[in-house]
Symmetry: C2
Subunit: 336 residues, 2 copies
DNA sequence: CTGAAAGCGCTTACAG
DNA sequence: CTGAAAGCGCTTACAG
């Protein structure tokens, strides 16, 4: 390993000078030639500053963590891009993590924070997270921002405008002529589930349409949850003509289960889902979706984090606005 | 931040003793009572050892990196689980990273390694990686293991038995009565692509079946690549009755494009894909797949890493054996 | 303005 | 056996 003192020796200056020159300290009065000599020496020796030493000295790591319930969910892909993009522009390293359950995984997460490995964390709390779980993560000097969730604690939060997204989906169905519209959501206890269901009710209300409780399900966001939701609906009686599904993964399950029961999409029943992912276009029929500004959510979260651990802010990302991606899973309702 | 010396003060011992007791140094002759007092003090103060200090001192980080081309691909989910599982049992932290192109991303990757942030890395080289790209990542004291790829350099490698997986798929089609079998693969330059294509040719040869070059495509593993592959096949003339697709994501595209052209799966054409992911079961029809031991690949990679940077090993994961997951996308070929 | 020196929080060889 | 002290590689307040 080549150390700073090696660079200093080669350039004929003190280690302190190397540190100042390499960190771009402009206040330093030194000849351009010396500066050049140091930079050259560093390059020639292939010098990379030791991370542990630097961070021990400064108590900063220039590293942030992005923790989501399921890092491999395609829905998070755009979010990750946004975070990476903004982090790169701020010269921040990012570590990705997964926390399916905060009470179980709190140990390592708290370790990550408490050991001083990171300067801040962007966390999407998994379903069932309690305020105490979040509180345990608050450490002086480390900033925390919650995404897609709310908190009454002293923590910054950034959420998507789920209501606007769902409204977009509802309005699309209504514009096609649907009035018998159902909602496939997730259990209470999920912050996004609450907002999406509320958004659904509000949009229906605004259109003067009644919400039929037997057409409301709350199984969850996974593909299998979507299948179960369809079975729920089928058991309860006549199906709606259109279904707003709160998550694309669940929509795949909905589509499969509907097919399995011999119904046809969209001629018997229309489907529109929240979140746009590549495979929405690879199902049959391709699924009409509402694309949400997940990338912006990512960049904003990094920005909020960078504003320091002192400030607490609450923001809703409403731009770019949710966008309807029209495919083949929606059409006018069947004539009866 | 509470430091070791705070614990020492509270327990009435020296910092050195705290260090030894907390790290479980059994050679240390100290009364059980003192040991207890130190442990209690540490817990009461909520002491967490400073990561930077420890790692500066020991030049070990107990952290490894897992770098794949696309962390959000569901295909990598199982791999990630395996890595996490084995890392946890060895008390290793893991950081996840993405490298779509090694030549571009080499900077931060090299930084990660060179700065001493990690003890080792598990890397799946993206397509188009050159030996020089990999060589630049070799740093004394940091171990590197390549997965799903080969290398003639001094680097450990672990690969899946792609040939066995593809053979399983081919044999399944043959058992159903197919003789006109095509292959949807990826471009040369992809290590897995080469192995899978070779596996296909070998399996066909073993069965005494001819490989028709017009039924071989090499677009890639993404959904869109699968669509293009189908268009290629359609342009070239009569379709095969069965298709082995080298990656499930591509298979979704294949399925969608086949539907779009009015053909039916499996009655007109059967599809079987490598890699099993939840959404294989949520398409219509659900896709028959070959499940590969990705979790084992993950655990093995961590084990290889832990064996130190000195040893170079090359392994093929052939157990658990590739498993056929029978769904609805395959049937006997159409009678003509 | 700039060099020498202190110190970040640990671990461990060494002396007692 | 165990405490005191050195030192990992940096950055930066301080003295000259």
């Amino acid at each position: 390993m080549v150390r700073m003192r090696d660079v200093a020796a080669r350039a004929g200056v003190s280690p302190g000078a190397v540190s100042r020159i390499l960190s771009g300290d402009t206040a330093l009065r030194v000849s351009a030639e010396t500066r050049e000599r140091v930079v050259t020496a560093a390059r020639e020796l292939n010098y990379i500053p030791n991370y542990a030493a630097k961070s021990l000295r400064t108590s900063r790591t220039r590293t942030i963590a992005l923790i989501v319930p399921d890092i491999t969910s395609a829905v998070f892909a755009e979010l990750t891009r946004g975070v990476e993009e903004e982090a790169a522009s701020r010269d921040l390293a990012i570590v990705l993590g997964r926390a399916e359950r905060l009470d179980e995984d709190r140990g390592w997460l708290r370790g990550l924070v408490g050991e001083g490995r990171i300067d801040g964390a962007i966390l999407q709390p998994p379903d069932g997270t309690t305020p105490a779980d979040v509180e345990a993560l608050i450490v002086p000097g480390t900033s925390l921002v919650l995404i897609n969730s709310v908190s009454d604690g002293p923590v910054s939060t950034i959420v998507l405008d789920d209501g606007a997204g769902i409204a977009k989906a509802v309005e699309h169905l209504i514009a096609l002529g649907h009035t018998r519209i159902g909602f496939v959501g997730s259990p209470v206890g999920s912050a996004t589930g609450i907002r999406r269901q509320a958004g659904f009710r509000a949009a229906m209300h605004d259109a003067g349409l009644a919400v039929r409780e037997t057409w409301m399900t709350d199984r969850g966001y996974a593909g299998e949850d979507g299948r179960e939701a369809v079975r729920d609906l089928l058991e309860r009686g006549p199906m709606p003509s259109g279904l707003v599904v709160a998550n694309l993964n669940a929509a795949l399950g909905v589509l499969a289960e509907i097919h399995a029961h011999g119904l046809r999409v969209p001629s018997d029943i229309s489907i529109v889902a929240l979140h746009d992912v590549w495979y929405a276009d690879a199902t049959w029929p391709p699924i009409t979706t509402v694309r949400m500004p997940l990338r912006r959510l990512g960049t904003s979260a990094v920005t909020a984090l960078s504003n320091g651990s002192g400030t607490v802010s609450h923001a809703t990302i409403d731009s770019p606005a949710p966008e309807l991606i029209l495919r083949k899973s929606t059409s006018a309702p069947p004539t009866r």
